[in-house]
Structure formats: C-alpha cells, structure tokens
C-alpha cells in the first residue's frame, strides 16, 4: 500500500462523516461516488453534476480535495495516473475499515 494513500486515509477517517453513514450500501455508495469525483477534480476534469446525488458527492469531494491540496503538498506534483492509483487505494482502505471489516453490527440491517 502506498504510504501516500495511508496519509489521505488518516485524514478522511478523522474528518469525513460520509464514510460512516448508516448501512454498508450507503457507505460504499458514498466512498465510490466521492472518491470518483475527487479523482476527477484532482486530475483537472469537470465532474458531472447533473443529478442531486452527483451534486452532493461533488460538494463533499470539493472540500476534501481542497484539504488534500493544502495538507499534502505532494498531490500537486502527482500526475493523473498517480492520482488515480493513490485515490483508488484510499477507496480500498476506506471500504476495508468502514465496510468489510467494520465491527458495527447494524451495517447490514435491511431497514433504516
């Protein structure tokens, strides 16, 4: 695992509430949606914001990316492929801790 992904993971764990939504599918959806938007922003692309869900992911991603840029100077020098790789590893780490190996016993309850 890239040490840079672990740095970002530590930041997200401490800062971001979206990784801790109520059920495993909410968490997975948020992680995938926000990290995808984050990758696009970091790569200088314009993410889609057509649906309310898109705009919500983008709102969270914008703040996260702004903090990444100010807190982790190396990110400005990373090329698109590196960003893709580090952010995908970040997503894996988040899924591993907050979904796959989470000890929260309510995560898979079918009702809210």
């Amino acid at each position: 695992m890239d040490a840079r992904a672990e740095e970002l993971f530590d930041y997200v764990q401490e800062r971001c509430l979206w990784q801790f939504h109520s059920r495993s599918w909410d968490r997975q959806e948020n992680i995938e949606g926000i990290i995808t938007k984050g990758i696009e922003l970091l790569q200088g692309k314009t993410p889609a914001a057509d649906t309310p869900k898109d705009r919500c992911f983008l709102a969270d991603a914008r703040i996260m990316v702004a903090d990444f840029r100010s807190g982790f100077p190396w990110i400005k020098d990373a090329d698109a492929a590196e960003i893709q790789q580090v952010m995908e590893q970040l997503a894996q780490l988040l899924v591993d801790v907050t979904v796959t190996h989470s000890k929260n016993r309510e995560l898979s309850h079918h009702l809210y």
Partner: protein, 473 residues
Amino acid sequence: MPMILLDCDKDIPERQRHIYLKAPGESTKDFLPIANVATIPGTLSERGCAFCGAKLVIGGVVKDAIQMIHGPVGCAYDTWHTKRYPSDNGHVPLKYVWSTDMKESHIVFGGEKRLEQSINEAFDAMPHMKRMFLYTTCPTALIGDDVKAVSKKVMQERPDVDIFTVECPGFSGVSQSKGHHVLNIGWVDQKVGSVEPEIKSPYTINFIGDYNIQGDTQLLQTYWDRLGIQVIAHFTGNANYDELRSMHRAKLSVVNCARSAGYIANELKKRYGIPRLDIDTWGFNYMAEGIRKVCAFFGIEERGEALIAEEYAKWKPKLDWYKERLKGKKMAIWTGGPRLWHWTKSVEDDMGIEVVAMSSKFGHEEDFEKVVARGREGTYYIDDANELEFFEILENIKPDIIFTGPRVGELVKKLHIPYINGHAYHNGPYMGFQGFVNMARDIYNATHSPLLGLAATDIRRTAKAKLALKEVA
C-alpha cells in the same frame, strides 16, 4: 489490552466489552465498544427510556403542537422542560405540559375514554392549537389502549385538527435511541408528503437533527437567511408541525445529529431521492466546512465564503482569547452519543482542549466508529457508563471540566470538578461561530472560577479556625 475491565466492574465483567482505551496504531476494525444493547442488570445506567427519546428529544420541540402523553403524570412531568428548547412563538414547548394522568382505576378498566376526553379538553382549552403529538407510555401500552383508533375518532369529529400517534412506550427499547427511531419512521410513514410548502427560493433544504437548544436553530437560521437558502423543515428545532409534513420538497437534507435523525434523512433519500449531507455545526472549522458544502451543492460558493469571512472577522478574535487561556485543559464528555464525535476535535482544534474520556448513553456502534476515528489515543471511550465507572475514570484521568447532564453533573460537583450542561448548555447557543465562543466562555468561567476550589477546603482545618475553636473550647 485495549478493552478495559475497570476495578469497579470486577463483578460484572461483561462491562469490559463497553470500555475502550485507544492505543497507538489501532483502528475501529480492531476494537469497537459494543453499543445499543440492553443495560447489564446490576449497573447503575444513566440512560433514559424510549418514550423519553421520542417526546423529550424530538416531538416535544415542535412549537405549535399539543404534546398529549397518555400515561401517569410522571411520564409527562419528567420529560417537560428538562431540555431547554425555546421557540419564537412564546416558548410553548417550555411552558406547557399535557397528560391523561392515568390512575389505577384507568389501568384496570382501560384508558381510552379518558384519552378521548383529554384530547378534546386540550383542543378546547387551546383553540389556537390544531396539531397534536400523542404518545403511549409503558402502562397504557401494556393494557393495550388503541390510541390510533381514538385519534382517528377525534380527527373525524374535529376535521380541522391533525394528530400524530407515537407508539413508543418506555420499555420498547434499550435506551432513548429507540424513541428517536420510532418517531422518525412514524413521521415519514404517516405525515411526510401530506402538505405542500410554499417555495420561496431555488435553494431548499431540510435541516435535520437540531433541536434549538438555547436558540441553536435560530442562530443557524440567520446563516441560511443570509445565504438565501430556504429551510423547508427543521427537524425539529423551532419547527411547525405542518412544515415537517412538507419535508419531501427539499432539494437537500443537511444532517447534524445523525443519531437521532439519520433515519428520516435516509428514508427521504430512499423514498424521495433527496440526498443526505452530514455536517458538524459546533466549532469554527466545522461550521465553515458545513456552510461550504451546502453552498457547493447549490453552486453559491461565493455567498458562503462571504458569510464565513464576516463571521470569522467578528468572532474569531474572541475565540482566540479563550483558546489562549484554555490550551491544555483536559475535558470529559459524558453525553448522549453524537456530541462525542461532534466535539472531540472541534474543542481540540478551536480551543486547544484535550478530550480524555467520553461516554455515550445511547450511541450506536456507528457513533463509536466516528468518535474513535476522531478521538485521541489514550482516551477512554465508554458505552452506557455507570456511576462507579465515572468515579474510577475520573480518578484515572483527572479532567479539568466535564460536559454532562445535570444528574451526573451533581455527582461530579461533589468531587469539586466543574461541569457544564452538555445536553441543554449553560449559556448557549453553542452551535455556529457565535455559539462556539459562548461554549468557550462557559468553559473558561467554569475552569477559572475559584468557587469549587474553595468548596473543597474544609475551613475547620485551617490554622486560624483551629485557633478560634481552641479559644472557644
């Protein structure tokens, strides 16, 4: 061994699974206190009941509804104005309490007639109020009173009134958390979608999980007004009954207290496609971040930045004055659940305070995931702590200040440790920029007051007193 068995718990070793001491390098996939489970017989729990979670926390905040409590008068009295939520219509939720005042004979012969009479009496006595929350309690649920049938009959006879029934007796869950759940789901099932709001702005939100404690909602409302954002419904601070029926029309659900109201945000997402955005509203850094996110959703970032700049200019110097004087203070947070994770980093970042122990009465494991991720190493994380555990932890951590409720607060006062009301505040509001300065001021006053130190001194043992006593003898 990070899960801790305290000395006072040697006879109830099951408590070990509820107490965690965070060590370096650990994450929530390694250790997590178990939570939202039945209290172990023999411990002195500080929890409230499920009915209390529905009435005191959420329903009772609504400012234009009669809160009819079908049960003994104690259930009504004990959930009345112990939490300070004012309202802009003369503080109705704090002024009035309603109960069917069930006695033994009603338990024996049934309470439905008494309930019907009480509902009609209440509407007759307060003809300007046309909305009602109707709650069952343990005894009326046990005898099987059909409150839904009674409310239906009254609504047929009085077509201008609307009644929401909350069937959540105290025994129905392990803590007040069950009441939050029942009310959330009941409301979205029975009432959301039954009123159409007047849309006044292209930017509409539901603000969920804020109960206007000492004016929190009203303070935040000034931000939404300045940003041009219409709050379709506050769930439920300073809220009208009918605005809560129109939650389906908001474009975004902004969630503060995810524990008491995450359910309705999830259901609004599932049923109406309204996305859920969780934010923190206590703390400068967090509040600014929350405003930025909401504004980013609507594409009005520049308005958000202007508001944040204005608020920082006005309040940050004041916060920094307190931060200088609070740096290094040790704090314990013993509240319901979410305030642990809302506060632990915000008091550290914005005030320089270290949170050394946190206890949750009704938090779920989700809340512990959040707080352990945010909290410090070497800090205790406790689920449903009991009185003896509090004393032992205090001995271990020696905090300078404790945020907790008045009940536990009275205990810690006897140890001459200052406490601040973590549920209803001392001199709030505490949310937002101004609110966090209020919170810092209350902590400063509590930790710098000489009173508790003086109270700890037994004046009979001073040299002067000894001499005086000797002379008298």
